[in-house]
Each structure stands twice: as C-alpha cells, then as structure tokens.
C-alpha cells in the first residue's frame, strides 16, 4: 500500500472507530456518578479485613493478588526478553568509559542517589498504608542505582550491581511471590491466601502476606529496572564507542 493509501484507509476507519467509541461511552454512567458494587464493597471491608489502610494495595496484593503475580512476571519476562534481544552486543566488547569526569559532579550525583535510595525504601515500606508500594518504590530504587552509573563511576556501579546478584534478586523476587502463594496452599488454604499475621492497621507490616508480597515485588522491580537500564545503557555506550 502507498503511504497515501494507508492514511486514507486509516482516516475512514478512524472516523468509524471514533463514532463507535463515542456511542459506547455514551452508555456509561455520568462522570462522577459511578456506583460499582465491587469497588464499594472493597472500600467498606478492606481495612478491617486486611489491616491495610491503602485499599488499592489490598486489592493489588490480596483480593486480586493473582493479577499482580502475572504483572510481576510480565516485567520479569520482558527483562529476560530484552537481555535476549540485546545479547549480541556483549561480545562486541569495548571498554566502557565513565560518562562524567568531574569529581564534584560525581559527588553531587552520588549524594543525590543516596537521597533517592532513602525515598525508595520509604515508598516501598509504606505501601500498605499510604500511596506507593513495591512497584513505585522499586523503580525509584533502581533509579538510585542508575544515578550512580550516570554520575560516572562505572566500576563502582558494576561493583554495586554484579550481574549474578541482580539475576538472583530478580528471580528471587518474582519467584518469591509465586512461592508465597504455594506456602498458603501448604498451610491448607487457597493459592495466595493471606495467612497473616495481621497487626494494627496503619502501622508497617500490619497486613500479613500483603507486606511480604510487597517486599517480593520491590525486590523484583528494583532488580528488573536496574537490569533494563544496564542493558540499554551499556548497549548505547558500546554503539557510541564503535561509531567514534
């Protein structure tokens, strides 16, 4: 198809699709007037049943914990996939230089990384209580590691994140999530059943397996994103070296 033909086909189709979609959303409840029983019920019972004041976290790690198992493994799989797709470049060996050579800049970067690291830990730990959790905190933690890389000390970065350790943490995090589900079964209940212990709502580690699953997720996400960043950045460094 020529480009013009393609755009013409799309224009006609998109007009039809838009009309269909607008027709569909006209059937939704007025904005702001939704009354779904599912969400309303969970809002009512989650805190007392699961001792997690953040209902979203309770849903993510408990009521619909199996979705999150799948989600963890989608991330896990895509990291493995990226490693597979970018693998060849590791044989195209080249020395990776530090991106930044100024010591002052390095110091600022590393100090900033330390701050990010603390924030990341906080976000992870308070997942069951306030907004945030394993995923968001994990990405922040990975960002902290990446900052060390960007601040320029490649050897320090690789010392912090050796490949076997990263792979181990990634596998342990994702696998840990799935294994916690099996533990529930060994205790005689359903897969991913929350077997406690429950503490006072609003305190850390109050929500039984939610806290454990949150931690497993944090491990997995941190390692996954560090691996992703490493794959891409090393690949680009090498590309640049070769073209230079």
């Amino acid at each position: 198809m020529t480009r013009r033909g393609r755009l013409a086909l799309f224009a006609v189709s998109a007009a039809g699709l838009s009309a269909l979609l607008l027709w569909a959303v006209a059937g939704l409840p007025d904005f702001g007037h939704f009354q779904g029983r599912y969400g309303a019920t969970l809002n009512k019972v989650a805190v007392s049943e699961r001792h997690a004041t953040n209902v979203v976290t309770a849903i993510v790690f408990d009521y619909r914990g199996i979705d999150t198992l799948g989600e963890e493994f989608i991330l896990f799989t895509s990291v493995i996939g990226v490693a597979l797709l970018l693998r060849e470049t590791r044989d195209e060996t080249g020395r990776i230089h530090d991106a930044v050579r100024s010591d002052a800049l390095r110091l600022v970067g590393i100090a900033f990384a330390a701050v990010l690291f603390t924030i990341g830990l906080y976000v992870v730990a308070h997942g069951p209580i306030t907004p945030g959790g394993g995923f968001q905190g994990g990405v922040v933690l990975a960002g902290a590691f990446t900052l060390v890389y960007l601040a320029g000390d490649y050897r320090a970065y690789r010392g912090l994140t050796p490949q076997p350790a990263l792979d181990f943490v990634e596998g342990a995090g994702a696998g840990g999530y799935a294994v916690i589900g099996i533990v529930s079964m060994l205790l005689g209940s359903a897969y991913l059943h929350n077997f406690g212990p429950f503490g006072t709502p609003g305190t850390l580690a109050s929500a039984g397996t939610i806290s454990m699953l949150n931690l497993a997720t944090a491990l997995e996400v941190t390692a996954a994103f560090v691996l992703l960043f490493t794959e891409f950045l090393e690949d680009l460094q090498l590309t640049r070296e070769q073209s230079a």
Binding site: F10, A24, I80, G175
Partner: protein, 608 residues
Amino acid sequence: MDALVPLPVAIPLIAAAALTATGHFLEKRVDDLTAIAASAATLVISLLLVFHAADHRLAYWMGGWKPRHGLAIGVSFTVDPVGAGFAALAAALMTAALVFSWRYFDEVGTLFHVLMLAFLAGMCGFALSGDLFNMFVWFELMGAAAYALTGYRVEETSPLQGAINFAVTNTLGAYCVLIGIALLYGRTGALNLAQIGQTLAGRSPDGLVVVALTLVVCGFLVKGAIVPFHFWLADAHAVAPTPVCVLFSGAMVELGLYGVARVYWTAFAGVPGAHDGGLRDILLGLGVLTAVLGCVMCFLQRHIKRLLAYSTISHAGLMLIGIALLRPDGVAGSALIVIAHGLVKGGLFLCVGILLNALSTVDELRLRGRGRALWPVGVLFTLGALALAAPAPLGLFLGKSLVEGSAAHHSYGWVAPLVTAVTIVSAGAVLRVAGRVFLGLGAAEDPLLSPEPDEEHEVAQDPERSGVLMLLPTAALILAGVGMGLVPGIEHHVKHAAETFTDRQSYVATVLNGANEHTAVDSLSLLTLHASSVAWSLASLVGSVLLALLALYRERLVGRAARDRAYALVGGGLDALRAVHSGVIGDYVAWLTFGVAALGGLLALVLT
C-alpha cells in the same frame, strides 16, 4: 484435587524464576532438564484437571476470596474440560518443543528456557482464568514472552521486523480488549465473566454492549489471526525458531479463538439477539474469508515455515467457522480441530526444524530432492500432510466432520464443500512440499511462488546434538495428531465438554453460587462415521494429492496456452493479494483499525 488448579501457572513460573536466580551457578543441561520437568509436570497436572473437571466444573478462588452474596470479590480460575484441555495441549507442545531443543539454545544460557516457561504459564493462565481482566494479564504475559522469542535471531533484519509487527499489532489488540473491559466494568461493575454475563443477560444491547463485544472480540481475533487482523502471523512464524513456531501455531493462535468463544459464551450469550442469525453470519463470514485467503497464500509460498504459517491462518478460519455456528456441536468440532491441528502442525514445524538443522535452508525449491537422506523425516512430514487432508477417520477428520454436520443441521449446507475445498488447497500445498523435498518431484523452478529471505540456520551447528532427541518428539506429535480421532470415547467426551462450555446458566451457578452439579458421561465408543462426512473426507484426500501433483507437474500436464490463460485470469488477483501483505507495520495497523470499525459497524446493525 482442587488444589491442582493454580499449579499449571505456578509451576512454570517458579521454575522460570529459579532458573534465572541460579542460572550463573548451574551445571550445563540443568536448564534443559528443569524446563522439561516443569513443562511435563504442567502437562500431567493439566491432564488430571481435564479428567477431574470432566463431570463437573471447578471454580477456584485465588486467595480464598469466595463470592459474597453472589458478588465476586476475588479472581477465580474456572476450570472446565475445554479450558484445562487447552492448558494440556500447550504443555504437551511445550514439552515436545523443549525436548527437541535439547542443547539447541546453549549460546544464550537460561534465557530461552525462562522465556518458554513464562510463555507456557501465560497460556495456561489464559485458558483457566474466569476473570476478564485476569485473562488480559495472562494474554500480555504470553505476548511479552512471544515477542522476545520471535526476535531470537537478532543478527538478521527479518526476525526483527517479524517481532516488531507481531508486538505492535498484538499490543494494540490487547488495548482494544482493555477498553472493552473498562466499558464492561463501567456498565456492570464486575470483572468476573459470570458476573458480567449475569448483569448483561436479558437486557437488550445498546451501544456500549455492542462496542464492548466488538473490542474484546477483535482484540482476541488479532491473536487468532483472523482476516483482516492476520498479517502479523506469517511474518512472526517465518522468522521465529522452529520450536517456538510449534507453540505459536499449535496453541497461541487457537487461544485467541478460545478467548472469543469463552467470553461470548459466558459474558454475552445471555444478551437478547446475541444468538440470532446476524452475529452468526458475521462470524461465519470472517471465518470463510480467513480460511480461503489463508489457503491461497499458503499455496503461493516456497519458504516452508511461511507456508505452514499461512496454513495455520487457513485452519484458524475453519476453527472460527465451527465457533461461529454458536452451537455446542460446532464448538466441539472446533475443539477437535484445535487438538489435531496443534499436534500435527507442531510436528510439521519440528520436521522443518530438522531440515533446517541438517541442510541449512527452509526453501522448498532449494531443498528439492535433498530430503531423501532424511527419509524418516520425510515419512513423518508426509503423514502430517495427509492428516491435514483429513482422511476418515484420521487427523483432522473428526473435528471437520462435526463442524460440517453441525453446519448442515442448521441449514448451512455450503459449509461442507467449502471446508473441503479449503482443505484441498492448504493440504495440497503441504503435500507439494513433501513431494518436492523428500522425493525430488516436480520442477526445480516455480515462478509462481513468493521469494522470501531464506534462513541458513537458527542456532550454531553442534555435532553432539542428538538426532534421536529431535526425531522423537516430532514423531510423537505427528502420530498423536494422526491417531487422535481413534481414542475411544473422545467424540462423546468432547461433545459433552462443549455442552458444559456453552452452558451459561450452569457456569454462573458454579461460579457465583457454588453449585456443584455432576453430569457424568460414560462412553468408550468409537467415533461415528456418517456417509456424507466420509465422502467429503475422501474428496479432500484425493483432491489434495491431485492438486499437489498438478502443482508439481503443471508444465507437463497442462498445455502452454491453457496455462497462460489461467495466469491471465488469476495472476493479477494473486499479485494484488501478495501486495497487501506488505510487511509494513503502518499498513497492518491501518487494516486493524479498519477491521475493528467494520466489525463494530456490522454488529451494530445486527444487534440493535
């Protein structure tokens, strides 16, 4: 026994995670062994689930969140024989592919095995889940693993192109599904299929319901490779490693169609008008279009993997025809086609893998006569090709005869001749390959066939790779596919499974009210042969052999003038058809948009 339900998902995932965590410290071969063991365990458990669910459907609530006052608050895996059977088929094909791949993917360490196991978990989860959003999650897991596996040979451009086309179209399909899910949630406040169905039932459909149905169906049809959403399939299959193609053709594509059938029968079957002729005609039309286009394109290929890929598209069309009848016996026929086709096509792809490994090409013309040395492969390949031609009572015969019978019963008498014609063309193409490659028949050149970039090898040659380990799973798949229809009682059990599958009321009762009705079927009788279906099957067998011979010897059999006239008649059409399959992702997405809009418009006409 209920405790088995989460295991087909949990076992491969845990094995994948464990391989990744310890991959740097493992002895060689541990990855092969772990992956095969996990996959075989999944197969055994899925088979147990098939038998366990044979007389009653299981609803397993993750996290123990049983419904409260009829309201689903957790996620259920709702297991019936069809769903569990799909998981078993995926696990069987995976096990065969992994045995075949022994020492195959050493250069990438554990990466290949981890991706395959995640892929398997995604397929099992999709087949077992009873929650629409949860299905979407597993759909994406399947996708993420499949895109990466498609691009395995990163040193060439065509695998990258195939993987990109595959990833972009299927991702857009998944977004369509997700928009559909959001619309349904806005209407029903539910994500569980039974709950959605219960809320929609009995109320006449409006725009929201029609469009939600359109979007969910289209999203799954992208995976199911139904025209005009099929473009990605041939590109992805042509370039993926052959053990991966086994899973793509044998299970993943079919799971897309399974998704359509599952969502229709649980969520939409209660909608007034959904059962009338309009919807049936639209889906039948799509199935026919796909079956015909697939078999024509199949016949035009010389790249054998691409040829088999188009044959899969053609069979996806046949399966959709069975589903489109919206009757239990049609669903049963489709399910039987899925099993037989999955096993046979998987075996055929493995045959191609052996050819590629030994002779460093997958081009039909370049392979002419060179397959003689590999005669056991030739025997298996020919058997597989004949099984596709569906001679009574072997191969795809049983499934096809059920679909034809169901169609004839509901006054779609044209289905039987059409299915036969399509079978003749697509099986004829595979037989032509068998004749040319393994017997050296036919001409060395054929300008009619599409030139494609050839492959030389998918992995480095390894003299220690065992020929027996490659031949064994190939033979197992093909022989199982050929003889599947002879298993005592299979016809009755599958028919019964299809009746369970299509019974929305009892689905709701099991899921939301915990009802547990047992409906046993006890039959070990052999399949029934009707005179008409046997006649059609003979026609397709003889027809496909004759067509293959005609294709090989048309220079000798047909005079020049007649040939020229034939080219003048259809040549332009074939070239146009080829040109539409441009390999450009922008075109594919434009066609996808067109398909959604057109299908939505048609459904709006017939349902409201």
